[in-house]
């Protein structure tokens, strides 16, 4: 006992740990990472996660292609990224070690399941000799545990077949890591009870494996020091751990409540957007209707049909689906009906990297329709921000009667962070006004309804079927402004094209001006959009800590751009635009403002790290300084 007490006394404080769980697709790494994250969240750490998994459900076991990883950064202070590099790597097999060791920080800790390092698995991973013995891991702190064997032994008196017991080895790893990094045990034990309710042997096996892992930590001479990351001093409030797709789903529900009209989701399964369909399908008591459509086109078509009927019509997808929906989105532009099209971007083109992140659909969102078909674009910047971005997209769509594209990405979708739950009373309501009366008197003195008669914002009335006296016909054929009757007149088409552009441009007056984060008097301004917010913020803080000045402008609205953006950009010596594409926003800013913006790009399927961006920004700061 004294030994254990002494060990407990050895716990060192750390301000943060970046832990990466890596194993075979069937090893339960996502679940293990998720449990560690939840326990850390409840403990009060700030955190950010980066789940990474192959597109294949079960790639051949033991191969590099089948490695599934989950990275989590826990911290005692406010953080915005899942970490530059893991400080701890848990590798459940040789393939996981081979694939992820290159990511580990020099001198980091490697925790391996030594049972999996047999000849067959080593060969599958492409190791010619055993990396546990050949010096590969020199310079790292290595903790080996025969996880498979110890898990089987822990389960042997529980009536669990050895083969089934083996499946619990991820809980052994979780127990060991929980001990090493001083995580509370109870939340995981309670969670096992709930998750596997009714399957008593599974509960018993998982708990036994978890306890065995924990005990192994306590008793074995591990050679790695125990660390404790204290709770973070976050703003007071009630917190929950949330990922982007869940936050986005809840934002849509909130928008429906704020607007007082029902939510309709038309969707076709596609990675990484499907979880929004799954989440919304659960909440029928909010009056949410979900349609799993026969294809992407039907999904957006049904959403548009529901919008015509007075619902909040939403469709969710990723890049390939965006391409398929384009014609219907163009129809919505022509009909001037509200519609929210949500693009959870992934690596492209074509099927590309279904489970990896990218933000290369911006120009498609801007221009990817035939004809002149402008529409507003809104982007989410962090997992929890997806909640507010969804509300904003719905607000613009219904108040301005236009399709809106809301952009998130695979990283935001699956990454989670603590979220201070907002007071629902403080959320701004969304104003909905359905037309109820005729709005025009024709030459015969008769009161009639003109579907394209506009208000001062150039917004047309939303007259829904069922309203007496307002029967009207709308369609994708060019129509006369005002009456809405079919018109092929040259002057009318010219006027309508200009009107459709102008009414979207006018939305700039109904969105807040953009604000500078950091130092507004800095020489260098970084303009970002979407999920790069976290890495840009992390980079800015590092540069500030080192005494440098940097301005950060992050765009919620990509179209129309905020009214003050052009002037703001002209006040900086240098504008840098980091993007997970080949420079799409940069191109837009250059075209719009004639600003000599510099592009920093990354298109590897991975989000930027704060370190990468800090280096890129520092070099700009240096260049400007040197030119003086």
């Amino acid at each position: 006992m004294t030994d254990i007490a002494q060990r407990a006394g050895e716990v060192r404080k750390a301000d943060g740990i970046v832990l990466r769980f890596a194993g075979d697709s069937g090893d339960g790494m996502q679940l293990t990472g998720d449990r560690f994250t939840s326990a850390s969240a409840l403990f009060g750490n700030d955190l950010a996660t980066l789940p990474e998994f192959p597109a294949e459900i079960r790639a051949p076991a033991g191969t590099l292609a089948g490695v599934s990883s989950f990275q989590v950064h826990i911290s005692d202070h406010d953080i915005t990224t899942p970490g530059d590099a893991p400080t701890v790597l848990v590798a459940m097999n040789p393939a996981a070690l081979k694939s992820d060791l290159r990511l580990l920080q020099p001198g980091g800790t490697v925790i391996v399941n030594s049972d999996a390092f047999n000849e067959r698995n080593l060969a599958k991973a492409g190791y010619e000799s055993d990396p546990l013995e050949d010096g590969t891991l020199d310079g790292y702190t290595v903790v080996t545990a025969p996880m498979t064997d110890l898990t089987k032994r822990a389960c042997q008196d529980l009536g669990v077949k050895p083969r089934d017991a083996e499946r619990s080895k991820n809980f052994f790893a979780l127990g060991l890591v929980s001990w090493l990094y001083s995580r509370p045990v109870e939340p995981t034990v309670d969670w096992i009870d709930g998750k596997f309710a009714g399957r008593d042997t599974v509960i018993a096996a998982n708990k036994a494996a978890f306890a065995a892992g924990h005990a192994f930590g306590e008793t074995a001479e591990l050679g790695a020091s125990r660390l404790m990351v204290a709770p973070a001093a976050l703003d007071p409030g009630t917190y929950t751990n949330i990922n982007g797709n869940t936050a986005l789903s809840w934002g849509l529900i909130a928008a429906s409540q704020l607007a007082g009209i029902p939510l309709f989701l038309g969707s076709y399964p596609i990675t990484p957007a499907s979880d929004i369909l799954h989440e919304l399908a659960r909440h029928k008591n909010f009056g949410v209707r979900t349609l799993q459509a026969e294809d992407e086109i039907a999904a957006v078509g049904a959403a548009l049909g529901a919008a015509y009927g007075g619902h909040i019509g939403v469709t969710t997808t990723s890049g390939p689906g965006m391409a398929l929906k384009a014609e219907t989105v163009g129809l919505a532009v022509s009909l001037e009906l509200p519609l929210v099209v949500i693009d959870i971007q992934r690596g492209g083109p074509s099927t590309g990297l279904p489970t990896k992140t990218e933000a290369a659909d911006l120009l498609m969102a801007m221009y990817g329709r035939h004809g002149e078909a402008p529409l507003p674009i809104v982007a989410a910047q962090s997992p929890s921000d997806c909640f507010f971005a969804a509300i904003e997209a719905v607000r613009i769509a219904v108040e301005h009667r236009t399709p809106v594209i809301l952009m998130s990405d695979g990283y935001l979708a699956n990454s989670s962070e603590p979220w201070r739950i907002p007071d629902v009373e403080q959320l701004c309501s969304i104003s909905i006004e359905f037309a109820s009366k005729p709005n025009h008197v024709n030459d015969d003195g008769e009161a009639v309804f003109w579907p394209f008669r506009r208000d001062e914002r150039l917004v047309r009335p939303w007259a829904i079927p069922g309203t007496p006296e307002l029967m009207h016909r709308i369609g994708g054929i060019e129509k006369s402004d005002g009456s809405g009757n079919i018109s092929y007149e040259p002057d009318n088409h010219q006027a309508m094209v200009r009107l459709r552009a102008e009414r979207i441009a006018l939305i700039a007056h109904h969105i807040p001006p953009v604000e500078v984060i950091g130092d507004p008097d800095a020489d260098v301004a970084v303009v970002g959009w979407g999920s790069t917010w976290g890495a840009i913020t992390g980079a800015r803080r590092r540069l500030e800590a080192a005494g440098h000045r940097l301005a950060h402008i992050h765009l919620r609205h990509l179209n129309p751009l905020p009214a003050n953006l052009g002037e703001l950009l002209s006040s900086f010596e240098r504008v840098v635009v980091p993007e997970m594409n080949m420079g799409q926003l940069c191109r837009m800013l250059r075209a719009e403002y004639l600003v000599d913006a510099k592009s920093v790009t990354k298109v590897s399927g991975q989000p930027f790290t704060a370190a990468e961006l800090a280096e890129a920004f520092y070099s700009e700061i240096e260049t400007v300084g040197a030119a003086r």
Binding site: A41, P231, T238, N241, F264, I464, P465
Partner: protein, 337 residues
């Protein structure tokens, strides 16, 4: 429905100039619909016509109801969303054979399968009209058109067979030369809860004139149209001298005098199994043989929109109406002081 105001055909017609070619079969379908509507006991504002692209798809512009002229092929999808959102509306979908069986084939079969409360009218003229005369998915083999100068080598769809195969709960066929029969089919479609599919043989007098003349012209109808009547033996021809029997699952035309009336198949549109209806639909795959018209199938099945609404009601009575605050706190939470 006693409080529905009395209307006439004029109330259901718009002020828009009808722009189909003179002599087009679409005119008689429009007239049939405008004359029928005042008798249906529905309000104009509760009625919506949704269409895709094509000549037939201009239909909504001429009905003084709500109307949505969407894009090519997608009308069943758009209408599905509308009908799901608004179970109080009467939603009609109008399109041609190119619109609904080619580019929109997928949406059509899924709307039928789901049994969404839609009245789907397929104006089948076996040609592309608006794009000026290419062969369509219902054009006969050998059809010479601009895009098949050597004749089409494709097998056409039989629209009724396709609808039956797509699990449709209501399938009917009519033609543009018989207003009374069209109106009867439209009325039946309207009264059917769920997806009702009506194929209308429609003459395109510019690009495919007389495609159905051999079966629909007045003096041919008796011998060439087999009028299906629920509960009655399937008979046709002058004085009913011809009839249909089902043998080994296949339908065959017979002379009643030779087989006796009792041998004829008695039409049962309500039979849960669509096999006999399908067999009847296979009697005619070209327009030069006796062709069944009328209601092939009319069975009751859970309607999609109301099933969705029931799930919402059940969920609300179980969990209570949605409470946003509760939702945001529904996962594990912790306090920071």
């Amino acid at each position: 429905m006693t409080d529905v105001p009395v209307t006439t055909r004029k109330d259901w017609a718009t002020d828009q100039e009808v722009r189909w070619c003179p002599g087009c079969g679409d005119y008689s379908i429009l007239t049939a619909m405008q004359l029928l509507m005042p008798e249906m006991g529905v309000r104009r504002e509760d009625t919506v016509f949704v269409s895709g692209i094509g000549c037939a798809a201009r239909f909504p512009y001429y009905m003084n109801t709500y109307g949505l002229h969407a894009i090519h092929g997608r009308s069943p999808a758009v209408a599905t969303g509308l009908a799901m959102a608004r179970g109080d509306l009467h939603v009609w979908v109008v399109g041609g054979d190119g619109d609904m069986m080619s580019i929109g084939g997928n949406h059509l079969i899924h709307a039928l399968r789901r049994n969404v409360n839609l009245n789907i009218l397929l104006f089948n003229n076996q040609i592309y009209g608006l794009t000026k005369g290419q062969y369509s998915p219902t054009s006969e083999r050998g059809k010479v058109t601009k895009s098949t100068p050597h004749g089409s080598v494709e097998q056409p769809f039989n629209a009724v067979s396709l609808a039956l195969g797509a699990e449709a709960s209501f399938v009917a066929r009519t033609h543009d030369m018989d207003r009374g029969h069209m109106q009867e089919m439209f009325r039946r479609a309207h009264n059917h809860p769920g997806a009702a599919f009506v194929e209308v043989f429609q003459n395109c007098n510019v690009f495919n004139d007389g495609a159905f003349a051999a079966i629909t012209k007045r003096d041919a109808r008796d011998s060439m149209l087999i009028d299906l009547r629920h509960g009655e033996p399937v008979r046709f021809g002058a004085g009913g001298e011809l009839g249909v029997v089902i043998e080994g699952g296949r339908a065959r035309v017979v002379t009643v005098a030779e087989v006796g009336v009792e041998a004829l198949v008695v039409h049962d549109e309500t039979h849960p199994d669509p096999s006999v209806a399908f067999a009847l639909s296979r009697l005619a795959n070209t327009n030069d043989v006796p062709t069944p018209i009328g209601v092939f199938r009319a069975v009751e099945r859970s309607e999609y929109g109301s099933a969705v609404t029931s799930q919402i009601a059940a969920s609300q009575s179980k969990a209570g109406p949605g409470d946003l605050r509760k939702l945001l706190h529904s996962r594990p939470t912790w306090q920071v002081a």
